[in-house]
Assembly symmetry: C2
DNA sequence: GATTCCATTGCAACCGGGTTGCGGCATATA
DNA sequence: TATATGCCGCAACCCGGTTGCAATGGAATC
């Protein structure tokens, strides 16, 4: 576990460093895709659900992670790509297969952003396409 | 209540007509925007939650209505625009204000659809932008 | 007309993700 | 050392959604 890297990043975001916050951030950074609260609970079995919850809450408020609602009923979390700021450009496309109920993370397809009516300002985008994935289409 | 119109539409979709289904469909058609299960429960106080739930399930399966997950924790329902088929073109943009927690239905902005990798086929799009709405921006 | 069958519905209970109150412990501040 | 503040675990709670089951009712069959 890269303790140092986590500590630095928390510092830079102005988040007080604690052992649990390091654990959670480390797990998120190591994860290949997104992680749900339940995923983190499983991964960090010594840490209480509510602590993880509150940690994620803080991370999100400080734009260290962002959440994706893929419509499966459990919100997913992901470390923001850019080190210093979490921009809308970080938001990419997700695909949910209605057959096998898996969520795919299409990292290289960034979520489109439409022109909004006067007065609306966007801070994040939740873009999820539902349909049938390749392997379910074949079989 | 336009009983006839509802009955016809149910018929055309191959959905067996029942009093409750007429009530639910009528409420949805009359609604200015989207409705949640809870909204319908309030509107149709004589009808049980589970009955509404199952009715919506059937409606959705027959592509008479579609659901939108706006990230508020309660799924919204909406009658498909086109009479005969519910196409992806029906899906429009939704905006969720992080300050006042309201969901706006931007009916005239259709949800964009990105090119998916080989093998993925899209059946619906869930596109929701989060940010600050005009009245909250004003302060 | 009587009987059988199956879809529909209401009720109540359940489920699971998320959230909160609170008390204890640790850490910081005076 | 005394005092405040923040962090954490536990347990309980909340709420939207979902399911099992029994009763009802209408259509199909005898």
């Amino acid at each position: 576990m890269d303790n140092r890297k986590c500590t630095d990043r928390l510092d830079r975001k102005g988040i007080r460093v604690t052992p649990i916050r390091i654990l959670v951030l480390d797990a998120l950074m190591k994860a290949s895709g997104t992680m749900s609260l339940a995923d983190l609970e499983t991964e960090l079995e010594t840490v209480d659900k509510s602590s993880i919850f509150r940690t994620l809450e803080i991370f999100e408020k400080h734009h260290l992670v962002h959440s994706i609602d893929d419509g499966t009923g459990s919100v997913k979390f992901e470390v923001c790509e850019s080190e210093d700021d979490c921009s809308i450009a970080d938001m990419h496309t997700h695909f949910y297969c209605e057959i096998c109920h898996k969520t795919f993370c299409l990292k290289d397809i960034s979520a489109p952003l439409v022109d909004l009516p006067e007065g609306f300002s966007a801070r994040s985008v939740n873009y999820i396409i539902k349909g049938v994935c390749p392997s379910c289409a074949r079989g």
